[in-house]
Subunit: 511 residues, 2 copies
């Protein structure tokens, strides 16, 4: 406890946070990097595909959470938090061939358990268990997939999902439009609204298209999943997959002809209506009616322009039954880098049959899931490009001169500041040197110094100094004030500092 | 999508939240209750010893998180978030015989993994992995123990921990005092400061006492764990355990004589100093010096009176090396019930050797862990006793009269409110009836209604009405205002409402 600490290791916590932040980019700190290390009994590391979050990374992450939670609350959303594991039987049969990616718990007696794979199935389980018929719920939590990690592209084995779902009987397309509005609000708060496009499609239209083109009923889902690959594969490759799945070449060609189209909702609806064969299909007709209604509602919400009706959007999951969507980000060339080529950053759709799979009741649902880790990657890249300051505590309490370190007096000043809700630190040494204290405040990004001296204290006074003022500034030397005015003066100076920081677009210090 | 919903099931989300809140007390919704059900393949439930959190329970829980995070930030704390599972080798050898309570993951190829058992070992692992020498870190997350659940007493298999730790070389007792100050600040923010006592003791003094009384070195930890049971067992039973562990009856008697003492720090230090045999022991002397220093610092922090030096406090964990503490709550008789008999609600101590167990470096640490679920139980009981209102969204947008439901117009009004940061809901029906809309707003605890009518809208006006005003109130019928003034007027009325709610000590709606 009394071993003297070296100045260069004795950082303030905020400084430590900054140091770690720069080291904690996904590419530098995750378990995935250590793949080659193999399981070594004495290894001190995180499991493969996972990471620690610390310091300013958490501040950026929390900005995403707050943008989402604020939007969810504005729309009457209720928070739900479920256990990290579920009974295995709850997850069984929900994920098709991806079920092999589920983490199972060891059999140590008792129930068979598995870590949650997403937040949708736990929500469906909760709906099935409870008597509610209608709810807007949100849930932000980590989910688990035993996938091959791809750290640079943001694919981890433990990662965040941030879900908003509307469950219950509503008049047609009302919740569907609200979900898209919420997506817009979240990205707008994060300053990304201009960079994103919301691709939408409708499973009824897509399935109708397939049927009219000549896909047999039992092949519709598997052909749909081939179409889903059009954003990663060439049309030729997708055609090959479709013919391998048993389609005639001409059928595949007709599908690929239609999936070229995208644009605003009226334009695509016009195309479909003008094609007699398509317009005669009952499913397509229903889809057209719903999309037309949706367009009216999106217009009322002022977001019709944000949406692109894209007939190539298919979405992988089987359980969607109506509207589907994917928010994609188009970064300007200067913003593009390996870390920010992230593809879709939110996605979801209507799933009216999932809750019914638990055999208790049927509740139609629609939901969206925000890809927190991908959005984080984008915001962090911007943050670093703009060299935004991350600020530490509000005040560093220092001692100057005198033959003792006035530790108890510094504690008293810190207490006075804490009582006023101001964050304050001081040197953890009984007799610290002044340059060390200034250095700690500087490296910690702390904007104010309160300097305690023996004579000044006797007169009931302390000195307050704004850090980092240029030489020659009239307040460079700080000013002596009454101890009783200290908290108020610090608050005033901090408010000024916050205003300035806002101008600089620095991250806010407090949530 | 067009199936008409029944009025009584068509609740607003805030109403649903309230309903669920009352059903979601630990005794009603957890997996523990279903023990007798046995693992049934078709069971739709949460795993044993876990629970879902929803609605107003989450609001109460978030108050605890916020009180803690605010205090941690005021003291320069940095957030850390680690994976839910660790390599098994990281957890091995840290928990003694409690290791059998660790949840292991199934062997599906790859690394051997286990769910975290607490937040201290992941922190020690992080310290060992990284270059930091000094940090104040906090971590709020769930931990996992395969214990027998005791729901009524708040013992779950998945439960929250909320930890603050100070790592690094500091001058003696400076971080120790700060940890106790932080505990005080957290409970003070939660309105519990008057009800809690912080019991403290020092492992050096305790070990010295045992040695002087005649306990052999190799029995000190096991005798310490017998003393730890004095809060649950009678002195006679503890004596029996000590003699069974091989102590002479007279040695056990001398220990039990000393463990009777508690009181303020100077009083207990005086007792020890006045006993020649005790004062001659080197460990006790060191402990006395440290406790005396601690007293000075607690005095500077204004919390010396909150602390009781209790020689019977031993704490179970082996790894503590210095100051140990436990925050206990003494509820007045009227507050006591089965749910609120919870014992200690925060605890911790100094552990200077744990990080060194990973063989990389030694960093002294001290920490505290807040028992979120236990504190939650107390706050929830108070909350219910005081019948505090949980408020829903800010505004319910209604349509009145006319031959159509003005849905798009209601959407436009909601959009205008959302844009201004005001939370707003409206009926999810194309043509809702007015009484249904009022009922939804009332049951949802929504304070404002905005009423849209065809003629008024044409004149650019809407009506704003404060809900729940008594008959005869001058503003009972609401007032007609320009649509352009709507957001400002709602904000004004909401600010008034919030002020009144504060007077009633209602829970704040926003974080």
């Amino acid at each position: 406890m009394t071993v003297p600490s070296q100045a260069h290791t004795s950082l303030t916590s905020s400084q430590v946070a900054r140091n770690f932040s720069s080291k904690s980019s996904p590419s530098a700190k995750t378990g995935g990097d250590m793949e080659k290390e193999r399981t070594d009994k004495s290894a001190v590391k995180v499991p493969k595909g996972t990471r620690d979050w610390v310091g300013s990374d958490i501040k950026i992450r929390d900005r995403i959470f707050k943008a989402a939670e604020d939007a969810f609350s504005r729309h009457g959303g209720v928070a739900l938090d479920t256990p990290v594991f579920e009974l295995k039987s709850i997850l069984a049969g929900k994920y098709g061939e991806d079920s092999k990616l589920i983490y199972e718990l060891a059999d140590q007696g008792g129930e068979d358990l598995a870590l949650r794979y997403d937040l949708t199935v736990p929500f469906a389980r909760w709906l099935a268990m409870n008597s509610t018929q209608q709810i807007k719920r949100y849930h932000i939590a980590k989910v688990y997939r035993r996938d091959q990690p791809a750290i640079a592209r943001g694919r981890m084995r433990e990662f965040y999902q941030c879900d908003f779902d509307i469950a219950g009987e509503y008049d047609s397309m009302i919740p569907d439009a609200e979900i898209l509005r919420i997506a817009y609000e979240v990205f707008s708060t994060l300053g990304l609204a201009k960079d994103v496009t919301v691709k939408i499609n409708h499973r009824k239209i897509l399935d109708g298209l397939f049927a009219v083109a000549g896909v047999p009923d039992d092949k519709i889902r598997s052909i749909s999943s081939a179409v889903d690959k059009l954003d990663k594969m060439s049309p030729e490759e997708v055609k090959k997959e479709m013919t391998e799945k048993g389609l005639e070449g001409s059928v595949a060609d007709e599908i690929l002809e239609w999936t070229k189209y995208n644009g605003d909702i009226p334009k695509i609806l016009e195309l479909l209506k003008n094609n007699e064969k398509m317009f005669a299909n009952e499913k397509i007709k229903q889809g057209i009616d719903e999309m037309s209604l949706l367009h009216n509602y999106l217009d009322a919400y002022g977001i019709a322009d944000q949406v692109s009706f894209d007939l190539a959007l298919a979405r992988g999951l089987d359980y969607y039954t109506g509207l589907i969507y994917e928010v994609v980000i188009e970064l300007s060339a200067k913003d593009r880098s390996a870390e920010t080529r992230v593809g879709s950053i939110a996605a979801g759709g209507r799933y009216d049959n999932l809750v019914g799979m638990y055999g208790r009741k049927q509740i139609p649902c629609i939901g969206i899931s925000f890809g927190v880790d991908r959005i984080f990657t984008i915001l962090k890249a911007r943050h670093e490009k703009e060299k935004q300051k991350v600020r530490g505590s509000d005040v560093y309490v220092m001692v100057f001169g005198g033959k003792n370190g006035l530790l108890v007096e510094r504690m008293g000043i810190a207490r006075l500041l804490w009582d006023a809700g101001i964050s304050a630190e001081f040197s953890p040494k009984v007799k610290p040197r002044l340059p060390q204290q200034f250095k700690a405040a500087e490296t910690g990004g702390i904007p104010l110094a309160v300097i305690v001296g023996e004579d000044e204290l006797k007169a009931g006074k302390v000195k307050v100094k704004v850090m980092g003022l240029p030489d020659g500034h009239p307040e460079k030397e700080g000013k002596l004030i009454d101890k009783t005015d200290l908290a108020a003066e610090c608050k005033r100076l901090l408010a000024e500092d916050a205003q300035q920081a806002n101008g600089d677009q620095a991250l806010p210090i407090r949530n």
